[in-house]
């Protein structure tokens, strides 16, 4: 039995190392000074000419704080809108009877099948038509980044599932107490679906934070860049200066790494089944 466990540990340690090795090698490169050949054979994991100067160098040339703030605004507002709109739409679909319920339900379900990548061109044309681009002003630019992702069927169905799980007696008691539907929704039901809201918030945040395709289509001004777009841009700025590119990539990863470690139980506990996205 003990022998078997040893083998499992060996396999898992190997896989864990392979998972993080690309980052380790990037960190190693980012800490090597100009006196050290980053293409040396055999490769050196521990820098011999250790330096922080690549970090200070790239920090001085690239507006990381700006990219970070832009990413925070985009991800933050996207999360808030998704929570509010998904909960609002999920509630009547779970709890109310009304004319047109079936068709609304299936229409929303149908959007699950539409991949953004297939409709991005008309979405872009619509965004232009609504003047939601950064050459109008920054606010319009942010709205253009956020609104196409402000709500989606996954979130709505996640919240609908959560509302379905609440016993009907809760609402009936509130009605007896004289609450209207909006008070029931806001004061009684929303607090009860907090776990689902948390799951939705966290996965929406990660998705929005890492989004690359859409911002690289709509953004025209460097001042509006989000972190992924800014990091991709490092390649053009520092062409073959891999020390700087590595340092910039690592710097840009620190915020999401902190977020992940703080929230890790939501990601790895395996209790977020509802958040599985296709």
């Amino acid at each position: 039995m003990k022998f078997k466990n040893l083998w499992i540990h060996i396999i898992l340690i190997t896989i864990s190392l392979l998972s993080i090795f690309p980052f380790i090698w990037l960190i190693s490169t980012s800490l090597k000074g100009n006196a050290e050949n980053i293409f040396a054979y055999p490769p050196q994991i521990i820098p011999t000419d250790f330096t922080w100067s690549n970090y200070t160098g790239v920090w001085n040339k690239v507006n990381f704080i700006g990219y970070f703030i832009n990413s925070m605004i985009v991800a933050g507002v996207t999360v808030i809108l998704n929570l509010i709109l998904s909960a609002m739409a999920g509630y009547p679909l779970a709890r109310m009877e009304f004319k047109g319920k079936k068709i609304t339900f299936f229409a929303i379900l149908a959007t699950i099948m539409i991949p953004f990548q297939a409709i991005m061109l008309p979405v872009y044309l619509i965004t232009l038509k609504l003047h939601l681009t950064d050459n109008i002003n920054n606010f319009a630019g942010f709205m253009g980044l956020i609104l196409p992702f402000a709500v989606n069927a996954f979130g709505i169905f996640l919240m609908r599932q959560a509302f379905l799980g609440i016993p009907k007696e809760m609402e009936e008691a509130a009605i007896v107490d004289g609450c209207n539907v909006f008070q029931i929704f806001w004061k009684v039901l929303l607090p009860m679906v907090k776990p689902s809201l948390a799951v939705l918030a966290i996965f929406t945040f990660i998705g929005s934070w890492g989004e690359f395709l859409w911002p690289s289509i709509v953004l025209t001004k460097e001042a509006m860049y989000t972190l992924p777009v800014g990091v991709n841009n490092l390649q053009g700025m520092f062409s073959s200066n891999w020390r700087f590119i590595a340092a910039g990539s690592i710097l840009s990863t620190i915020p999401i790494l902190i977020f992940f470690l703080a929230m890790q139980k939501y990601f790895i506990s395996g209790e977020n089944d509802g958040a599985v996205k296709g």
């Binding site: 980052f23 293409f39 991005m120 209207n180 992940f260 395996g270 296709g278």
Partner: protein, 290 residues
């Protein structure tokens, strides 16, 4: 506080979400078909109606077949590994060992890191005189042009997608493993079944729905790949790593050939919708029941 008649309440609750879904999903969906009948290549401001000509051009374009083939390679390269390997890892992690949380965190890490950073990290590993070629040389082979040789480029990109997805599917499997009744394993132990037969006869039949789910969602996400290709190869060399989404992007936003790009988008829509329908009707039916 003002009081709405509760007859209107459901519509008011649904309205904001429905407006956004109409503007950013339904209208673009139908517009994609509409655009695919137009020709923008002669004058971007004055498109001409050309019927099915974009589709005809597409079917006569060798790049179209190359791109479809590459997307197919992506499916057969990434999906089987993403279905089997994370399951294997989940079973190992589920053995209630010490240090399991640390393993989970490390294996999940690639999932949360931005795909752009991941692609840059791999581009560095794949460099001409990079660390991977060092090991290739060490084994006595010539250096490989991971991203510069048309023979290998698509596989090098697929590796990144696989590496970034393993942790995600592993966690989905772990959740499914929790639902397998422990008595079944105990029965196996009494019968003296070994580790492998135990999982082949108990675990796999029990979590078949999850295996099917992972197959379809990993297939759908393999068809939507973009950032890896954009950051590492731009679809090159010689279109060898170009997939459908990258080709749509290129035709639409670089060549401004909106009609042709939309015809390609219709192809992508149809393929993804088939997989999604399988997914919704076969594996996630319960979640979407009215």
């Amino acid at each position: 506080m003002f009081k709405f008649h509760s007859k209107y309440a459901p519509y008011l609750f649904l309205l904001p979400a429905v407006i956004l879904l109409v503007v950013f999903f339904f209208i673009p969906f139908f517009q994609t078909f509409g655009l695919s009948f137009l020709d923008y290549s002669s004058n971007i401001y004055k498109p001409e109606f050309i019927g099915l000509k974009n589709y005809l051009n597409m079917f006569h374009n060798p790049i179209f077949y190359k791109v479809l083939w590459n997307t197919f390679l992506y499916l057969i390269g990434a999906v089987p590994i993403l279905v089997i390997f994370p399951l294997f890892l989940a079973i190992l992690i589920n053995q209630k060992l010490r240090g399991v949380t640390l393993y989970k965190i490390l294996i999940y890490l690639p999932v949360i890191v931005s795909i752009v950073v991941a692609a840059i990290a791999f581009k560095w590993l794949y460099a001409e005189q990079g660390i991977l070629n060092y090991f290739v040389n060490l084994c006595g082979f010539e250096s490989i042009g991971w991203l510069t040789d048309p023979k290998y480029s698509i596989w090098s990109v697929i590796i990144v997608t696989i590496w970034k997805g393993i942790g995600y599917y592993m966690i989905i499997y772990l959740a499914a493993l929790m639902s397998v009744p422990q008595e079944l394993y105990e029965a196996c132990d009494i019968d003296g079944a070994n580790f492998i037969t135990k999982h082949l006869t108990v675990t796999i039949p029990h979590i078949m729905p999850t295996i099917a789910l992972v197959s379809t969602i990993s297939a759908i996400s393999a068809m939507k790949v973009f950032a890896e290709i954009y950051v590492m190869t731009k679809g090159g060399p010689l279109n060898s790593s170009k997939t459908i989404v990258y080709y749509i992007y290129e035709r639409a936003f670089e060549n401004l050939d909106l009609g042709f790009a939309s015809a390609m988008a219709v192809v992508l829509l149809i393929i993804v919708m088939i997989f999604s329908l399988i997914n919704i009707f076969c594996f996630e039916r319960k979640k979407y029941e009215i």
